[in-house]
Amino acid sequence: MIRDARAVPDGDSIDADLCIVGGGAAGITLALELMNADMSIVLLEAGGTELDPDEQKMYAGPVVSDVLPDTYLQTSRLRQFGGTTNHWGGHSVVINEHVFGSRSGVPQGDWPFGADELRPYYADASRILSKKRIRPAWRPAIEAGLVPMERYPGGSDEDRRLGRAYHDTLKRASVQILLHGSVTRLHLDPGGTRVTSVQVQTLSGNRFTCSSRTFVLATGAIENARLLLMPTPSNNRGLGNESGQLGRNFGDHLFLHDRIIETSLFWGGERERFLTFDPALLEEQAVSEIGIMRLSPRKATLRGDGGAVTTVAGLMAPGHEARGGHVVYYIEPLLDADNRVLLSDEPDAFGQPRSELHFRVSSDLKAHIAKAANLLARLAGTHGLGRVSLSDDMQFRYGNHHMSTTRMSRSPRRGVVDENCRVHGMENLFVAGSSVFPSSGCGNPTYPLVALTVRLARHLRDGISRRAFN
């Protein structure tokens, strides 16, 4: 059932067994996975079925960054039913096994469980995202020691936009979806360990509450942190913030385009070209996971943009032609506590503090990129596959992949949520989405975040039926 929150009488109170806040990739996944369970569910979504500029402006906030634009908070996410899947590219990958373990390149990046724990849920994530596996190719590079990313492109454009794709299914389901209703505050019990209700406001001016036995924040990595940071009468540090980590370690995948000369050995007409390095090599070099996407090479023959280097590369590949192309490095963010979401002094239309984002590219990250490019040069050169470049002046692009602001850890001293995505110190408050990723690897996050949300749905279904969170 889909309703308009603007029609809910002012001062009303709604009640449910489960309250999901946010109807993007994570929120819709929860609704789909639990709609047939024996529980009442309310999903509160700030936006409508179409993009509304006034709702979207609610996402604006100050950005302090050397790479991200001032408009990043407003343009890198969507406040609309279906969330940011209304914009996303639909490409995604499985997080590689080694990312879950302890790595010298990403200290403290280990997950509370291994890759096997998430594996069983990817099949459901594929179904939800209409994804089909692409067989990895670019064979000579794989033979040279690079590792293919397990990659899943989206289906049709309509399949990718989850709000549209599942609108009718959810309309017929017993889940109660309220559009145009923004959650602005969490109300806690006197002990401060349980959420009793959330306050909902609409731009039309009405406000009401939603009480529930269990709450899940699924509002994206920036808003999840913002809602948890909002002070409550018993807690002004933020919920689950014993570690001081709440809002910190914000990550996005940076992309760096650079040139590549490929010898004809490298060509094969394969569609898929997303690779990374063997984990042992990454560990040896102590670098975070850096992916390599080869863009379709231009037919540049020896006149490729490598100038004289192209000639030498051509010379060194006897019997083969060399041509120029582009390679994109997909860079896993390092955990950097200064890259963070804060509450700004600027109020939004509901009088609540807007998000403020701080994000800088550290010299450590640049050093990781240089090491990875050297590694690629080493592998490609050793195997006669080509030559790569790395410009001194790194011009980054970014993926709009918001991550790690409410990191998962068994210990409340290291993370914001536990291994089941429950906020530390809270009995009935959970977080869904890539904000819980302790580290992310180099790949687009939505596929694993949906798999992780399916896992959370199973945990909630069992817990709510056993009244475990009461």
């Binding site: 650079d258 040139r259 020896l302 006149r303 490598g306 100038g307 004289a308 280097v309 000639t311 030498v312 590369a313 051509g314 010379l315 060194m316 590949a317 006897p318 019997g319 490019a373 050297n374 690629l376 040069a377 080493r378 490609a380 050169g381 050793t382 195997h383 006669g384 030559r387 790569v388 470049s389 790395l390 410009s391 001194d392």
Partner: protein, 121 residues
């Protein structure tokens, strides 16, 4: 034979002149010859040297046409010379002897070859 020498000259000339500047202002022949000899000595292969010396002699007249001459990479001597240089370069790559030249991450021996090609004659 002529094709081999022409091919080397083509590559050498391309390295020096870059892209379309090549056709507009070819290098003076004497300078070209000088660099060509140095390149051959770098390849360190008397057979290739010999072949190329003859090819150069033949091409003295019509070397202006060089851009149209493509290397015949199937020629055995040429190939062997290049393969030796290539093997040396691969060893460098495998050992991580990589340097940055114009933002390209290339092996030390390739960088030396490039430097040689770029030294004014």
């Amino acid at each position: 034979m002529a094709t081999t020498g022409g091919g080397l000259l083509y590559l050498l000339g391309y390295s020096r002149m870059r892209e379309d500047a090549w056709t507009r202002s070819p290098l003076p022949f004497a300078r070209f010859e000088h660099e060509w000899r140095r390149m051959f000595s770098d390849l360190d292969d008397p057979a290739v040297l010999d072949l190329a010396a003859k090819a150069l002699e033949e091409k003295r007249e019509d070397w202006q046409d060089l851009p149209s001459l493509l290397p015949d990479l199937s020629d055995r001597s040429f190939k062997e010379g290049i393969e030796r240089a290539s093997a040396r370069s691969r060893e460098d790559y495998a050992a991580g002897r990589i340097v940055s030249v114009d933002n390209w991450l290339i092996s030390r021996s390739e960088a030396e070859l490039l430097a040689m090609l770029r030294t004014p004659g």
